[in-house]
């Protein structure tokens, strides 16, 4: 086993021959960045107020801060989801994990005897158990990730509902409220949390061999196993990590809103997270991943939504631009469309069949 052998510089792009060059990673980041830049430019030209940041009581407020705050949940989920997708998997259960962790923490917090650290511990522990369940089904039972996590998606929602008896619970724990609404040095705590989580994850992936192993498993599981990577262990690990990210997102969400609705908390967020990852340039079939890309993807979608709402779009219609972003990104990644465009350019209209 050598690092050079399993490094997917070559193999990783076997599926995308047109990407097979050293600029690929940069190129992938370029598209979401360009999209985000375009949106900001639009706001610069037509909606200057978008950039207004005001200080109130030493804390930062303004549309940009709103975008960041709204994107926090998806950014946290997308961090875990990126690693899962890089392993060739997908996790549909993160929304339900949020509901379970949120409901349990709120339920315990309502008893008043649990300190914040213990609540945090419980949330992480629950997430680890659920993540281990998902990971075991995928890695050791060999189930398709969509199916395995669909089970937990349905099951988890039921568990969350049964914890609270189906009723909403309000959250008054000062620690949780601080996590959701607090400020440190003028910056909202959730944003700091995202920074910390993404940075730690990136360091763990890029300064150790972990990221390499994840890409190797996502690229070619058999080859990675043959070259000595503990593929099953890696898969188990990423699902557990993804669930922990979901639990953190849940804590932020319930602290921010101040209550838990177990039937709504995190609903459909799994799809937003997957969208952010895909928009960020990580391909759904696994292999190369970009944590930064996923964060930019989440910000891009949120900025687009907020911009359109500021331009007068009803918030209900927000899924439409999201859908268009997904389609455009998919098409941009499609080797066939690239080939067709290339064929059109010199006038030779022989599209590959």
């Amino acid at each position: 086993m050598t690092k050079g052998d399993s490094h997917p510089t070559q193999g990783g792009f076997a599926a995308l021959p047109s990407f097979a060059n050293r600029h690929a990673a940069l190129q992938r980041l370029l598209w979401p960045l360009a999209g985000l830049g375009l949106l900001l430019l639009f706001n610069l030209l037509f909606d200057r107020a978008f950039f207004e940041i005001t200080m109130r009581d030493g804390n930062l407020y303004g549309p940009i801060m709103t975008v960041l705050r709204l994107a926090v949940k998806v950014m946290l989920l997308a961090t875990g989801m990126t690693l899962v997708i890089a392993c060739g998997g997908v996790d549909l259960s993160v929304g339900s994990v949020m509901a379970v962790a949120g409901a349990l923490v709120a339920h315990l917090a309502a008893q008043g005897t649990w300190p914040f650290a213990a609540l945090l511990g419980v949330a992480v522990l629950v997430a680890l158990v659920i993540g281990a369940f998902n990971g075991t089904l995928v890695a050791f039972f060999g189930l398709q990730p969509i199916v395995a996590t669909l089970i937990m998606m349905v099951l988890g929602r039921g568990v969350a509902l049964s914890i609270t008896g189906g009723l909403p619970i309000s959250v008054a724990d000062p620690g949780l409220l601080f996590l959701g609404r607090g400020f440190v040095a003028g910056i909202p705590v959730p944003i700091l949390l995202v920074l910390v989580v993404v940075t730690l994850t990136a360091v763990a992936c890029r300064k150790t061999a972990l990221g390499l192993f994840i890409e190797a498993v996502g690229d070619n599981e058999v080859a990675s196993r043959l070259s000595g990577v503990n593929a099953r262990g890696i898969k188990l690990l990423v699902y557990m990590f993804c669930a922990v990210c979901a639990a953190l997102a849940a804590l932020v969400a319930i602290g921010d809103v101040g209550r838990v609705e177990p039937d709504r908390l995190g609903q459909m967020l799994e799809l937003d997270a997957i969208t952010a990852v895909v928009v960020g340039g990580t391909v759904l079939t696994g292999g190369r991943f970009s944590l930064l890309g996923s964060v930019i993807g989440a910000l891009l979608i949120q900025t687009l939504t907020v911009t359109l709402i500021r331009q007068g779009m009803p918030s209900d219609v927000a899924p439409v631009p999201k859908a268009l972003v997904i389609i455009v990104v998919c098409l941009l990644q499609s080797p066939k469309l690239r080939a067709q465009l290339a064929a059109l350019r010199p006038g030779a209209r022989r599209a590959a069949a």
Partner: protein
């Protein structure tokens, strides 16, 4: 050969057994449960999920997935209601237009998936967002349908003994089911679908019309989703852009419980009927079992999913491939 055939049918048999045990247990425990009325209601109340699940079965048999069905259902309900309420279309015309739109929507998704080799999961995810958003573009509020034709249709049905009526929606479900069975087992389309699900490249090498079939598949699923929406409007006598939230996953769950493998190639439309009936029975449970609320419903459905999927996994070890 015979053994393989049996092995593939085993999930279906297990599903049938689970349904019989479940239904039998309910019949023993609760009087009045084992009645024509309950069975009729099972068909009527789950007609829309059932119709969607039949279309979805074909997509899943081909190895694809369609996440857009719940949103297409929602879009159809509000679309039909608006066409009639605001633009004074005749119901029959409104329904025809809605079915056409649903079919074209599905065909569009299929064309993207086939033409540009995009992952069905992402394309239909976008389709799900798009249809849901468009539903809200049409109207953000529930819209009642008030038309004599609609009321008359809702009261249609096959009279059964004991003053029970096998309602119109249930009849549509049964017709769709029969059509699905016919298509899956007696037409070239069905054989192509199974072939593509077994191995798309083999199907291509055999000279089967893979591209055409894949577009047809998603068009069929779109049509079924729209028809499910129409049936929903008949039942609810209204349209609402919020209808069918998460229904795609209920339908997928019903298909999987019915013994169809999500990896494609293995499964039956008949299994989907059983899956829908099991799902429906679990949904009616709270009427009889006090304390068995919606949380337990989901836990029960999740648990069943787990059991079935692991069972299928062991049955189909041979055809497994790491994805």
């Amino acid at each position: 050969m015979n053994a393989i055939f049996r092995r593939q049918n085993l999930p279906l048999l297990v599903t049938a057994l689970v349904f019989l045990v479940l239904f039998g247990a309910f019949s023993v425990c609760f009087k009045n449960f084992l009645s024509l009325r309950v069975v009729t209601n099972l068909f009527m109340n789950n007609a829309h999920v059932g119709i969607i699940a039949v279309g979805l079965t074909f997509v899943i048999l081909s190895g694809g997935i369609d996440l857009s069905v719940g949103s297409v259902l929602a879009f159809t309900t509000i679309f039909v209601a608006t066409l009639m309420g605001k633009y004074h279309f005749h119901p029959a015309l409104a329904i025809a237009v809605a079915l056409l739109v649903g079919t074209l929507f599905g065909a569009g998704q299929g064309a993207l998936i086939q033409q540009y080799q995009l992952p069905p999961f992402l394309v239909t995810l976008a389709g799900m967002f798009l249809a849901r958003g468009l539903a809200f573009v049409i109207s953000s509020k529930e819209m009642a349908i008030e038309h004599g034709f609609y009321k008359a249709v809702a009261e249609l049905g096959l009279p059964l003994p004991g003053s029970v009526t096998f309602g119109f929606t249930a009849c549509v479900f049964v017709v769709v089911l029969l059509a699905g069975l016919w298509m899956a087992h007696l037409t070239g389309f069905g054989r192509n679908v199974y072939a593509i699900g077994g191995s798309e490249s083999s199907a291509l090498l055999m000279g089967l019309p893979v591209a055409r079939t894949k577009v047809q598949l998603y068009a069929l699923s779109g049509f079924c989703a729209a028809l499910g929406g129409v049936v929903f409007t008949v039942q609810a006598q209204s349209g609402n852009p919020l209808n069918g939230l998460g229904m795609e996953l209920d339908a997928i769950a019903a298909v999987v419980i019915g013994g169809t493998l999500l990896s494609g190639g293995v499964g039956q439309v008949a299994g989907t009927l059983l899956g829908v009936l099991i799902y429906g029975t679990i949904l009616t449970a709270p009427d009889y079992l006090s304390g068995f609320d919606s949380s337990w419903q989901r836990i029960a459905i999740g648990g069943l999913l787990l059991v079935f999927i692991i069972l299928q996994r062991f049955l189909s070890r041979a055809s497994a491939s790491a994805r």
